[in-house]
């Protein structure tokens, strides 16, 4: 079968790879419906390995996906052939220090589909039954491929300090930033301010619920945010870019006693004003992954219509175009190319 196989930075090859073996035990063979190109995939494409373990020579990328069950192992009880499903990329041991405390994303034996084991930029892939959640009829397969990034920002919105009626500054309107807009709206944040310099992304941000989009090329973004928030800053900020300047902006745009969440992955060291945490009792926290139950909660919000991420889908394409019209297009045209869905 055709697969997008990572071999190193700037080296993702469309290759013919063997189809997975028939599943055994709790494993399930799924046929991928749609798989999104994640910022993490792009980081691996441009500068990896980051999440891919050192020494791995090749791996099929793809971890944001919806699928249909085509075969099951003899101990599978949670899904059946024909079920439409979404996949949780974490394959955990359920036995280590962190799994016993239900902190699955920190599992000491964590495997990540599409990063440490073969993923979904291929027609078929294998998952264990505890990684699969059935999709209700109300959620399309395309939207199902967006549940993973939505779960990341939903996880952020569940942190202490994020409260109904509060305000939020979202720095960057890429896929995670746009997911943050959608989830912030869904959990009852009132005013949503977005910092984005690219015009198409700004338009999508507005379409997804941003109250104000601030272009830092045209104005002093921090000054504007302070004007919009009575001089104090927002109760929450979420940084979704991964640059020193944008992290600094997110921390500064957070009001005293507020929460600055850093979701962007960086590729270099940064100078960080950690004293802001002491000076103004801010919380500066990393935001990554999701906890048990958060995929299900996002599905519920999608099914009920309270969460609509569809404006962020800008490109849908076949697998054989993933490098030229997917990865390279995301690099060439960061403005109009936001979320690329791939169908194998």
């Amino acid at each position: 079968m055709l697969a997008a196989n990572w071999h190193g930075p700037k080296d993702v090859r469309l290759e013919d790879v063997p189809e997975p073996d028939e599943p055994t035990g709790e494993d399930v063979l799924v046929e991928v419906s749609w798989c999104g190109i994640c910022g993490t995939d792009l980081h691996e494409y441009l500068a990896g390995p980051i999440f891919i373990p050192p020494g791995v020579e090749e791996v099929v990328l793809g971890h944001e996906f919806s699928a249909r069950v085509v075969a099951t192992g003899d101990r599978v009880t949670r899904v059946a052939i024909g079920d439409r499903v979404v996949a949780i990329p974490h394959r955990v041991c359920h036995d280590c220090h962190f799994c016993r405390r239900l902190m699955f994303q920190h599992c000491l034996n964590l495997e990540l589909v599409g990063l440490t084991r073969n993923g979904a930029f291929a027609r078929y892939t294998i998952l264990r039954q505890d990684q699969l959640i059935k999709l209700p009829d109300e959620v399309s397969a395309e939207v199902g491929a967006l549940i993973e990034p939505l779960a990341v920002t939903f996880h952020g919105m569940r942190q202490p300090g994020v409260e109904v009626g509060g305000d939020i500054v979202i720095v960057g309107a890429g896929p995670i930033g746009l997911s943050a807009i959608a989830t912030a709206r869904a959990v009852g944040l009132d005013r949503i301010y977005v910092v984005e310099m690219l015009p198409q992304r700004s338009s999508i941000a507005r379409a997804m619920g941003a109250d104000e989009v601030i272009n830092p090329r045209e104005v002093d973004a921090l000054e504007v945010i302070r004007d919009l928030t009575g001089g104090v800053g927002a109760s929450v900020a979420m940084e979704c870019v991964g640059l020193e300047q944008t992290m600094d902006l997110a921390i500064q745009a957070t009001r005293p006693g507020g929460v600055a969440m850093l979701a962007g992955i960086t590729e270099s060291v940064s100078e960080v004003d950690l004293d802001a945490a002491v000076r103004d009792e801010k919380v500066i926290r990393g935001c990554i992954g999701y906890f048990d139950g958060e995929f299900e909660a996002v599905i519920e919000l999608l099914a009920s219509g309270r969460l609509d991420p569809t404006p962020m889908i800008t490109h849908s394409l076949a697998l054989d175009r993933i490098v030229s019209d997917g990865f390279d297009q995301l690099v060439r045209d960061r403005d109009s190319c936001v979320k690329v869905l791939v169908s194998p």
Binding site: P256, V269, D275, V278, R279, E281, V283
Partner: protein
């Protein structure tokens, strides 16, 4: 009334005669009985009364002050928020931008008598003496930091830096039912001070393997909560590295120097940094109660006790730096009959 104040002069602390005005309607005069002093009292600005942490007896009250306060033993709060700014009105008084700090931006209390606002004082509970009461400030800061940390009983914790604040934080964390608790610093004398109190006391590892061992010793994969009390970029970075995945670092000490770091330590580690600054009046009251009932073990927090005459003699002969250099408090007692130069 006449008084004597210990002011920081160009060559160190010195006794200076002063004239104290009568208290205004909302003010009280306190005869200082004890003050905790430390290295910060020997640094600029000069010409301020030193001793920001002090306790004494009320000897005169203003016309609108509750007369029951007269003769009461009291401790004086360490900072004065303005009470009028947006932050104060929003309930964030510890973050008041106009806040004044006793012994630093405004006069401290190492003096024969001190004039303060009545709302700056808290009566001491029965059984809490003046010397121990001087520790209220650092313990109240530690209490706030512990509460803000989200640490739960049984959590593995580490305190970076055996500063006075680090020792106080360790004492409060132990009182809060922490599991394995470590004070990490290279000062053996300071570490010794807490060994008997139930904390592990460990030197800062000099190589990465040492940190891995330390993580293993604390909770298996690093402490649930790390309190950063040294206030240096190196210590802050080490605290973030030491905390377990999804762990919390509480920064208690100030340091304006930016930290150069791989921010993925926070992002991919799912860790959080929480700041803690000052304390509220309610936290001060709680601290006094906990101290009075010995819920917090403060026995190791005072290293040296000096009479005011001994303190001034040490200032004169140049031995004060040594006396104040430790992580434990040096408490200066001021007896009502003390004969101090006028």
């Amino acid at each position: 009334m006449s008084s004597v104040e210990i002011r920081l002069g160009p060559t160190g602390p010195m006794a200076v005669a002063a004239e104290l005005r009568r208290p205004g309607a909302h003010e009280v005069v306190i005869a200082t009985r004890a003050a905790a002093v430390g290295p910060a009292d020997l640094t600029e600005p000069v010409d301020r009364v030193i001793g920001g942490e002090f306790s004494g007896d009320v000897i005169e009250v203003g016309s609108d002050v509750d007369p029951d306060l007269l003769h009461a033993p009291v401790v004086v709060l360490g900072s004065q928020p303005c009470g009028r700014c947006d932050r104060c009105l929003d309930g964030l008084a510890t973050l008041c931008k106009e806040s004044q700090t006793r012994g630093q931006t405004i006069d401290g209390g190492l003096a024969e008598a001190v004039l303060v606002r009545a709302d700056e004082v808290l009566p001491l509970p029965d059984g809490l003496g003046h010397e121990r009461a001087t520790l209220m400030h650092r313990l109240a800061r530690a209490l706030r930091a512990t509460r803000r940390s989200g640490a739960r009983p049984g959590d593995a914790t580490a305190v970076m830096g055996s500063t006075p604040l680090g020792l106080a934080t360790t004492a409060v964390v132990l009182a809060a039912g922490s599991g394995k608790t470590a004070l990490i610093d290279d000062h053996q004398r300071c570490r010794d001070a807490l060994t008997e109190a139930g904390a592990l006391t460990l030197g800062a590892p000099s190589d990465p393997a040492g940190w891995d061992t330390l993580r293993g010793d604390l909770g298996g994969y690093g402490p649930d909560v790390v309190f950063e009390c040294a206030g240096t970029p190196q210590s802050r970075l080490a605290a973030i590295e030491l905390a377990r995945p999804a762990g919390t670092v509480v920064m208690v000490a100030n340091d304006a120097t930016p930290v150069t770091m791989d921010i993925n330590l926070l992002v991919m580690g799912d860790k959080q940094v929480r700041g803690s600054r000052g304390y509220t009046v309610a936290e001060a009251r709680t601290t006094l109660e906990l101290m009075t009932r010995s819920r917090i073990d403060v026995s190791k927090l005072i290293g040296t006790t000096l009479e005011i005459g001994e303190f001034l003699a040490a200032a004169a002969d140049g031995s004060l730096d040594t006396l104040l250099g430790g992580c434990q408090a040096t408490v200066v007692r001021w007896h009502p009959d003390a004969a101090v130069m006028r």
